[in-house]
């Protein structure tokens, strides 16, 4: 075992001891502790926990790499995954906190006075959460196998074991305080390499400002300007320009925003604070902690892209000779072993020609130089994972990135597992099958459900169904089209009734599910090619949740108009949740 690996074991091992220690200290004694941490979490702590809950393996490992290769088009993730918090803070969090129950399906069931609505909501929730959690467990396995060189299965089992201890033992209370620690680990691990790289490239220690600064060694050349030039020299589109259609960019952004506000594991975090005013404030803290990573990510993406190109093209980009394969740096060799970097010498000259071979306008230039295709395959995940090595940072920074990736994946997985277990124990078992169950019985059921959910998630992480890559489209689209409109209408309209809400949720769910299936073909072969010409209004499956949401609203309003108005006590319930005064502590049904 070399020095770096030993260091990684020590850092990751230390964080695990920390998480388990917190779980033992904060274990749950009642269902209130288990579901909503006894509603006693300080808004700042809740903000940190929400941020860790929200930022998944994808945010930590993949997002900067996505932006690095998408340039401007990557903005959909930045705006989409932060703008949702404005909707949460203004439209959902304070009212759901005032309502004061444990789960999202409980609100839908009470507001629409219907067991069927509860079941529909539970189905939406379980589907959204399981697709999401499979990706997280996979992320844990991958980080383990790359940094600690163990089998994916071993990594997965260790990860499952740790989540098992603190989620099953501590419930929401254990998860919340563990997430606070995980947030600190992951943000530190993300920003340290970013600061170093920003200093190296621009001399500015703040990556957010570095991205808008001039490059070191030049008075007038801005970093983004330089990046635009070098990528265009290689046949790529300008970094700061987009290539997606405007309507699609807007639809994806809105679907991600609304989807964020409709994700049950995010919403439920706002049930844990003591007061309505805390719920509003806590959304702000959550976004502040998220923004630290989300405003750094575009800098990491752009700087890593520039670093990569300058490594491959040490001289004048595309004019002089690229790097010879024999002279490749050490990190290049390391990451080649993982398959994340792949070199194929297509023209047999021993040099690494990295350029855009899919651009027909650039083809004559490439041909004139004797290039026979792009020779370097770069996985987007490498932009974060290999960043410290590319920038020659010390080993402890690399070890930290491993711990950060695991923290991001575990914290999100735990939050998701908790909403799954509470939907099963509270909404299905307690409210539908066994209404007379005691609090202790329900707590035990919740723990068993969490344990089963961890095993299913672990299985899905080890044998990922073909659709894991499409999880983002699915989870966000379904949340946007099903749960979000039902909750919003439940608060802002007194006229939407049971029939309208159920018809709306089902319409949104089936439409969105069907559209994604039609183009992405999960379980079946796609029925049509996934290209803009075939899309409805030019909106890709990633953004179709917006249309599903509009259909949901439309159907719910129409059906409600022609059926009986909700009973008087529902009107009173709505009036009551609109006013902050009177939000009590934890209460069960």
């Amino acid at each position: 075992m070399d020095n770096l690996q030993l260091l990684t074991y020590i850092v990751v091992g230390f964080t695990f001891v920390l998480y388990i220690g917190i779980a033992v200290w904060s274990r749950a004694h009642t269902t209130g502790d288990f579901y909503v941490a006894g509603k006693g979490v300080h808004p700042i702590a809740n903000g940190m926990a929400t941020a860790a809950d929200w930022m998944s393996a994808a945010s930590f490992i993949s997002m900067a790499g996505l932006i690095a290769f998408l340039g401007y088009d990557g903005s959909v993730y930045l705006m989409g995954w932060t703008g949702g918090y404005v909707l949460l803070a203004l439209l959902l969090a304070p009212y759901l906190r005032k309502y004061g129950k444990f789960t999202v399906p409980s609100f839908i069931a009470d507001r629409y006075y219907s067991k069927s609505a509860r079941v529909v909501a539970v189905i939406c929730l379980i589907f959204i959460s399981f697709t999401y959690v499979a990706g997280q467990m996979r992320g844990v396995g991958i980080v383990f196998s790359r940094f600690l060189e163990v089998e994916i299965l071993t990594g997965l089992l260790v990860g499952m074991g740790v989540v098992f201890i603190y989620a099953v033992l501590g419930g929401m209370k254990g998860i919340t305080y563990t997430q606070v620690a995980q947030y600190c680990v992951l943000i530190f691990a993300y920003t340290v390499p970013a600061v170093f790289i920003s200093i190296q490239l621009t001399g500015n220690p703040f990556p957010q400002l570095g991205l808008g600064s001039t490059v070191v060694g030049s008075e007038s050349m801005y970093l983004l300007e330089k990046l635009d030039l070098v990528v265009q020299d290689l046949g790529f589109g300008a970094y700061t320009d987009g290539s997606k259609a405007m309507i699609d960019v807007a639809a994806i952004t809105l679907a991600l925003m609304v989807g964020t506000a409709g994700l049950p594991h995010v919403i439920v975090r706002f049930f844990t604070v003591p007061k309505v005013s805390d719920a509003r404030k806590s959304a702000g803290w959550a976004l502040l902690f998220i923004a630290l990573l989300y405003t750094t990510a575009p800098a990491v993406g752009a700087m890593a892209r520039l670093n990569l190109i300058e490594t491959i093209w040490p001289g004048e980009v595309a004019e002089s000779q690229p790097l010879a394969y024999e002279e490749r740096p050490e990190w290049f060799r390391t990451w080649e072993n993982t398959g994340l970097l792949d070199f194929t010498d297509k023209n047999g000259d021993g040099m690494i020609q990295y350029y855009n071979d899919a651009n027909p306008e650039f083809a004559p230039t490439a041909e004139a130089k004797g290039w026979e295709g792009n020779e370097l395959m770069v996985d987007r995940d490498i932009m974060v994972l290999a960043n410290p090595e590319i920038a020659n940072l010390p080993n402890w920074v690399i070890a930290l990135v491993a711990a950060g990736g695991i923290a991001a994946a575990l914290s999100t997985a735990a939050g998701l597992l908790l909403v799954i277990s509470s939907a099963v124990s509270h909404d299905l078992v307690k409210n539908i099958f066994a209404p007379n169950m005691s609090d202790r019985g329900e707590l035990l059921t919740g723990r068993i459900a969490a344990a089963v959910a961890i095993c299913v998630a672990g299985y899905l992480g080890y044998n990922p169904p073909g659709f894991v890559a499409q999880v983002v489209a699915f989870a966000f689209g379904l949340a946007a089209a099903s749960l979000f409109p039902a909750i919003i209408m439940g608060i802002f309209s007194t006229r939407i009734n049971r029939e309208g809400a159920i018809a709306g949720m089902l319409t949104g769910l089936i439409f969105t599910f069907g559209y994604i299936l039609y183009f992405k073909g999960i379980f079946i072969t796609p029925l049509a090619e996934n290209i803009p010409a075939n899309w409805l209004f030019g909106i890709s499956p990633e953004g179709i949740g917006v249309v599903g949401m509009l259909l949901n609203f439309g159907v719910a309003f129409t059906v409600s108009r022609f059926t009986a108005a909700p009973p008087v006590h529902i009107r009173e319930l709505i009036e009551d949740i609109r006013v902050p005064r009177g939000a009590g502590g934890a209460e069960a049904h």
Binding site: L78, G83, V86, P94, G212, L224, M246, K281, A291
Partner: protein, 90 residues
């Protein structure tokens, strides 16, 4: 009955004031992201903010900062409104 309708009137006044504040915040939310960051991004890119083309800056930085300010503003403004209408929590 009149006491009850007065109570209802006060609740409606609070709710309408809340909706006005909320609507104002959502307009700003929409303008910075969908307006400046997407629809107007190209023309705005002709303006430079240090090394950032302005449209690009809104899409990858500015909109996020604005979202943050919006949420804290809303929380502060609503706390004030809760007190004005005497519906705040003890």
């Amino acid at each position: 009955m009149s006491q009850q309708s007065e109570h209802q009137e006060r609740r409606d006044a609070y709710w309408n004031a809340n909706k006005r504040i909320m609507f104002g915040c959502l307009v700003v939310w929409f303008i910075v992201s969908f307006g400046f960051g997407i629809v107007l991004a190209e023309p705005l890119d002709n303006i430079q903010l240090f090394g950032y083309p302005l449209g690009f800056w809104f899409a990858q930085q500015g909109s996020i900062y604005t979202f943050l300010i919006l949420i804290f503003f809303y929380a502060w403004r609503m706390n004030k409104l809760d007190r004005e209408h005497d519906v705040h929590e003890e």
